[in-house]
Amino acid sequence: MNPEASVVDNVIDTVSAVFLVVGALMSLAAAVGLLRFPDLLSRMHAATKPQVLGLFLLLAAIGLQMRTWWVWPALLVAWIFQLLTVPVSAHMVGRAGYRTKHLHRELLSSDELDAVVQKAAQSARDDSSRDEADDGGRRD
């Protein structure tokens, strides 16, 4: 093997090693956030988001290690699947958490949804028909 190729190899190896370690650190960040944040909604930030970057780095490291072009589409598909699913599940859990009052009011500096919810609940009580009370298909 000529020395130039091995230098390139070394660089690729180093870059992917850094990617792997940083990607693993993102998982650790998620766990630390899970343990240290005070309420469900802020825990959710820590739990779901660093994974996006973490998985990106890990998949990029795989792509670098394999050194063939045809793995990249497969890796991209795996990442896009995660991009599509993570916000949806985070939103569902967050919405359920907000509706079941799993948040601490004293940790919120402002809550612009609260007034809307109060108003909707008020009109739901006034209005006997359920359909009109729910503003515009929020409950699908």
Binding site: L20, V21, A31, Q51, V93, R95, T100
Partner: protein
């Protein structure tokens, strides 16, 4: 060099998994536990990725996609269930 990377990431991921498991056992509410088990699943996925990168194979790639979909369906189902049950409880 890959062996050191493997060792370092193994330690990091074990710590992360321990944190997630502590949150699963302590979590004050059901949603906290769901969230933490989601993170645990993501950590497993990360471990699969690292295995693939270090040993240079792609056998786990579809497992990874399946894992993320299982996590998605699981947490959405539980969230839906929690929301619905509380709403009915409020109405009755």
């Amino acid at each position: 060099m890959m062996q050191t990377v493997l060792a370092v990431t193994a330690v990091i991921l074990s710590l992360a998994a321990a944190g997630a498991i502590i949150r699963i056992s302590r979590g004050p509410s059901l949603l906290d536990r769901v969230l933490a088990s989601d993170v645990l699943l993501a950590i497993l996925g990360a471990a699969l990725c690292i295995d693939m990168a270090v040993n240079r194979h792609l056998n786990n790639l579809m497992l990874l996609v399946a894992l993320s979909i299982v996590g998605f369906i699981g947490s959405v189902t539980v969230a839906r269930f929690v929301a619905d049950r509380r709403e009915q409880a409020n109405e009755s």
